[in-house]
């Protein structure tokens, strides 16, 4: 672990690079997936189209995706923007299904009564559906965060700097400690972002904290 102590600066720099690559996609995928997921949940036709498309996008391996994107949208191969776009695509692909499922999981009776007491579609979405789908959305976003942080390391093979650079560099120079440091840092970063999301959830969804754990039903 001597390597890690003597190279703390390097690890720190790569961590910052990594954050720049992974935080925007996490936020963007949530923002973009919301309307798409709502649409997917709302109409049968749009559901089929949107969910199939996101499933296929998610099936595309990341390394080829990084290479194909510049040809499609004109980004430079090694630019952070190229990676941010690719990671956002994966995040949206994952999150759209979560949003659709989350909205579908909202109790029909609650929705009906909201409509019955006079909520419009718009206010119903913001004040009823979205908060009630909140726990599901949060769980989905946590998955997006962890997988984005992990995926961002792949950018290193095309030369985009991130914690993944510690893998390629460590491999080429034969330094195991560097690779291990990279893995540990990536996992810690993922845990950190995950924890931040959990904390944000506790603030945004205060009622979920109060849920009592229901007693296990014993057979009568």
């Amino acid at each position: 672990m001597n390597w890690a102590w003597t190279n703390l600066d390097l690890i720190w720099d790569r961590t910052i690079d990594h954050l720049i690559l992974s935080v925007p996609p996490i936020i963007l995928s949530f923002v973009i997936a919301l309307p798409l997921g709502w649409l997917a949940n709302r109409y049968r036709l749009s559901r089929g189209v949107i969910l199939t498309a996101s499933g296929l996008l998610y099936a595309i391996p990341s390394f080829p995706m990084f290479i194909v994107l510049p040809a499609l949208v004109g980004t430079t191969l090694r630019s952070p923007l190229n990676l941010v776009i690719a990671l956002t695509i994966y995040g949206v692909a994952l999150m759209v299904r979560v949003v659709a499922d989350g909205l579908a999981s909202v109790d029909v009776d609650v929705q009906r009564s909201a409509v019955a007491v006079g909520f419009s579609t718009w206010t119903n979405f913001w004040q009823v559906e979205l908060p009630l789908a909140g726990p599901v959305l949060l769980a989905g976003l946590r998955v997006v965060a962890v997988s984005t942080v992990s995926l961002a390391t792949v950018g290193a093979v095309i030369g985009a700097q991130s914690l993944g650079s510690l893998f390629t560099d460590g491999f080429q120079r034969g330094i195991q400690a560097e690779i291990i440091a990279g893995i540990v840092a990536t996992v810690l970063l993922a845990l950190l972002l995950d924890g931040a999301l959990v904390a944000a959830g506790r603030i945004a969804l205060p009622w979920t904290r109060l849920r009592k754990t229901s007693k296990v039903e014993t057979a009568t």
Partner: protein, 281 residues
Amino acid sequence: MIEFRSVSKQFPDGTLAVDDFSLTIPSHRTTVLVGSSGSGKTTLLRMINRMVDPTSGAIEIDDVDIASLEPVKLRRSIGYVMQNSGLLPHRKVVDNVATVPLLRGVPRKTARADALALLDTVGLDRALADRYPSQLSGGQQQRVGVARGLAVNPNILLMDEPFGAVDPIVRAELQQELIRLQTELGKTVVFVTHDVDEAFLLGDQVVILQEGGRIAQIGSPADILANPANDFVASFVGADRGKRALHVERSDGRDVLVDSDGRLAGVLVGDAVPGQARVTP
């Protein structure tokens, strides 16, 4: 004859579901265990086919301690009907009914033919035989469940709130069907319910349970209604109020029965016959 001898059951989480329970269940009769949740009624039922083993005490069927029997074999000789039917969703109705005979090695052809005959017995159209359970209504599913329970022609039929999940009209139908079946077949039926009306309707012997499987009273429905053993039983069966607390009033020269809320409950059509407490509703 099924006998419980000082049976207790403590679950691993510490719950004492049944405490020192003794009971004799006569053959060819319907015995109903009735109680609210936590009374241990389902646990008691599931002990009879060793789905649950008692912590202490013994259960005997025809003087054989069932602890000495192999559970799987024992279960295949006892019919079991549960709430929500418990049918296998990936098997057609006829195959569901034939499940246990097939397990016992009955040839497929015979088992299917028997299963079709059983559909008649429980009042189901044979056209439903090739449907999947999900394509049936709740009431139909329960009938299939009963047919499956009867498939090995067992002496004992265990029924765990079998009609609890269907609507009241279908429930009434199924109850009448069971009464008809029982007069034909004369099985030893052990029936669990939380519904006192159902217990009184179906039971030859009714066992009213309190928490922990404590027996509050055993008897025929008439015994229990006429002489509730204590306040708990009286209030549980509602003998002191509503439609069970009837009195006679004269109206237009006839005796009519009126309940405690003043609602008309029926007409008295004959003089009281000793030992027969049935009222035309």
